[in-house]
Symmetry: C2
Subunit: 254 residues, 2 copies
């Protein structure tokens, strides 16, 4: 089994080290990850600039490359430049430092990388720990990843090829289990911090507060708040299928 | 009616000029758009750098701002810094130079900007013309936008707050009508162009070929290939709902 590991926090992040340590228990690991932090890059790709790719020796005995592009660029380069005819059997992204539950999947580089692999038909799992700290304890998250990867290899993914997995920030003994659920509705209440540069020009820092508007028991937010690991089977179809019939009045024929 | 206009090709693109010209027929227009091209930025946001915002005088009589950030940053700044207590009734993004049908919505800055507005509860329409040229004829696209905006204002959007509208590159007399459809399945077959810089270091340019794997008559790709404007009611829920039950085997309880 050949496993591609990537992330959005960059090659030096503790989270990817934790994921590589788990992944290597299951087969041959190849790492292609950004050479700098790429959080909140969403599904951005680099089309107007050249992309650099360098082999690096970071994880003992693991073929690894750092890439100047976005997380999605990393996956594209991994498949088409690094691996070419070598098949990828599984893509693992993370472990992200911070939540990618609910609406955060839309902004997440970690999940976009995993989604890009799944668009290419590769079973993919994005892992995120609800702890933004660089010193986060990845021990419980490693146990979760190990258990879930084993299950996915044994059972396969059914009806989807992408899982969005979020892990609560609690000690391993406090984790209640794993729940398969749906993406909760939520949004970010933005506030911009205004400042002035030395030349008196205004600039802004994006900041904001996460607002959960949907805590039903079948959601990822409910699972996480109740001590469960959330697993959301995810895809890339943004169509609101129920709304097709409801908006037929917009149609016209010449 | 107050209308926010944005795009991803930047403030100087002919496509946004065309959209502003149509939008001003329907109400007060405010423009907040990137100060440089931001194609393929997906749902990226700027969290590690400051963002600049400058008022500019580009469109006669229209309050306009250019922003150093991504298309999604533009919408966030528009709502929370530029407009604050002034309500936005409608967000229009585009007119994009090039297709955002099918899987392209995932990578598109144009559609991500519109989606960001819809996440905030603002009815939003992203317009794209299937012509990458800077000299594209936006005449037919303007007629389409005018007709559709009028209908959306009259009828409202039902069951969704975001439309992905793509316009075929054909003369206005050749357009067969408008169809409400679903996002077709497709992917990009990537090829990277390899080159060397003056210091002999390799770098890569992303390039690729669009591969349509789904041309059913209810898809946007079918509509466009058959001379129709495609309208896909879109959202931000990436859950594959059918797959939740199918993957219950991944669950565990402690």
């Amino acid at each position: 089994m050949r496993i591609l590991v990537t992330n959005d926090d960059g090659m030096a992040a503790p989270g990817i080290k934790a994921l590589v340590e788990v992944a290597r228990e299951f087969g041959q690991v190849i790492v292609v990850a950004p050479d700098s932090p790429q959080s909140a890059q969403g599904h951005a790709i680099t089309i107007s600039d050249p992309i650099r790719l360098h082999q690096v020796d970071i994880f003992k005995g693991i073929e690894s490359y750092e890439c100047s592009g976005t997380p999605v660029d990393c996956v594209k380069l991994a498949k088409h430049v690094v691996l070419k005819d070598r098949q990828i059997d599984l893509c693992l992204s993370g472990i992200n430092h911070g939540s990618n539950s609910s609406i955060n999947i839309i902004y997440s580089g970690t999940m976009s990388a995993a989604m890009e692999a799944s668009i290419e038909g590769i079973p993919s799992i994005g892992f995120s720990l609800l702890d933004y700290s660089w010193d986060a304890d990845f021990g419980p998250a490693k146990s979760v990843a190990r258990e879930l990867i084993k299950k996915v290899i044994d059972q396969g993914l059914n009806g989807c090829s992408l899982l969005n997995v979020n892990i609560p920030k609690i000690p391993e003994t406090g984790i209640m289990g794993m729940k398969v659920c749906r993406q909760a509705e939520a949004n970010w209440k933005e506030e911009f911090m205004e400042a002035k540069d030395p030349r008196g020009q205004k600039y802004y820092w994006l900041t904001g507060e996460f607002v959960a508007s949907d805590m039903e028991p079948d959601t990822d937010l409910w699972a996480l708040q109740n001590g469960y690991v959330s697993i959301v089977p995810s895809g890339h179809d943004l169509t609101v299928h129920n709304a097709i019939g409801q908006n037929k009045g917009l149609e016209s024929e010449v």
